[in-house]
Symmetry: C2
DNA sequence: TGAAGCTCTGAATAATGGTTCACTTCTTTC
DNA sequence: GAAAGAAGTGAACCATTATTCAGAGCTTCA
């Protein structure tokens, strides 16, 4: 046997795969899923179409990886703020929504691709899956808030679903727009609305539209 | 000249077109946009694939017609309840949401296709367009409610967008599910949540989960 | 250095599904 | 009933793209 993959070679492959995923993410953020063909994505990553299949068994698999990574990051950040943050449940809820919205508005192309852009069924399923997870995160905080007497009795799953949908819908237009006027006002209004939605007594003081992460 | 389209013949053509649109709607409701190929839809309407092009210049045009009609009906019903209904703005808002949700739950397949099922870009654009219109309907009632002192100061456009997204997201799972358990509870909870969202003081008495239209 | 075995390439292939079109069938009118 | 012209048919056509694969070029190791 005259050839065996050396560790360095393995690293190189892994790095190439990484680079491919990153570039694919960029392409998707720029032109949307529909226009991100294998050839275009491969070219952006500086490789040929055929090489993509060295790293992924199909285009769908690559698309899923791109989606999961990007969405996973957001989910993680949201989870940290909602459950690892400080303050009571309502405060954390407000913070979480504000952080989420801000991050989205800072990466419009990507956020739009993840939230709304038309895509192949495989990615659509991921979207549903991740929405379910966002919902679960929200539901936990809401349950906590209800238990602490900060929020009125309600079905936390429904409010959580509503928040997930509401945030997405409120952001869609601003994300598609080209100017980013009034991002602060938007975030403040969205947060206030979300708190009402959950039944928190509106207390503008508990919201700090500042720090964007 | 030995042939001229007779009125009866024109009617027959119009009826055929009508039938095509209706059957296409049924097919879409049953199998989703993705599986509603021209051949399948044509077969359902009892005609050949080629004949579809007698009535529509392209598959996309037919899909758009199907979407606009079905969504248009819902928009109309919602508009009637929101603006033509009786009671104050808050009451009408609650009624509108309840009616919308109920109608969706009674036509799950169609509602799912209109609200969430993956589809070609042309229909996706229609979806955005119609969501904008739903939003506008909600925004008007909310403005009215604010003006009447029934709702707190807020950006009606944002709350309206939020309601649009929230209702859709809350319904997605139940629409996809096969049992229709607890539809009443769902509608009641959704309505209450929506009212909180708009900032109405929750008054369960103002909601009548009854009559489904 | 050279054999072995890998990665990379990109043109060829395959599959899907909308669209066309030569032909058949039906309607109208004289 | 026959000519003129429209509607209907469905198999062939076409466009688009994901996927494959034979060959070129590297990397490893004796």
């Amino acid at each position: 046997m005259a050839y065996r993959k050396t560790p360095a070679e393995q690293d190189r492959l892994k790095a190439a795969r990484e680079h491919l995923v990153e570039q694919a993410t960029t392409v998707v953020a720029e032109v949307g899923w529909a226009n991100a063909s294998v050839t275009v994505v491969a070219a952006a990553a500086g490789m040929s179409a055929g090489s993509v299949y060295q790293h992924f068994p199909s285009k769908a698999a690559l698309a899923i990886e791109v989606f999961r990574r990007a969405s996973g990051r957001e989910l993680e950040v949201l989870g940290e703020v909602l459950h690892g943050g400080d303050g009571d449940a309502v405060h954390r809820l407000a913070q979480g929504i504000a952080v989420f919205a801000r991050r989205a508005l800072e990466r419009r192309g990507l956020a739009y691709a993840l939230l709304a852009a038309p895509t192949e069924p495989a990615v659509g399923e991921q979207r549903l899956e991740f929405r379910r997870r966002y919902r679960e995160l929200f539901a936990q905080v809401i349950r906590e808030g209800v238990a602490a007497g900060l929020l009125p009795a309600q079905d936390p799953e429904i409010t959580a679903a509503a928040l997930t949908g509401a945030i997405g819908e409120v952001l869609v237009d601003p994300l598609a727009a080209h100017d980013d006027g009034a991002a602060d006002a938007l975030v403040a209004e969205l947060t206030a609305m979300s708190l009402r939605c959950a039944g928190a007594r509106v207390d503008a003081r508990s919201v700090h539209p500042g720090g964007s992460r």
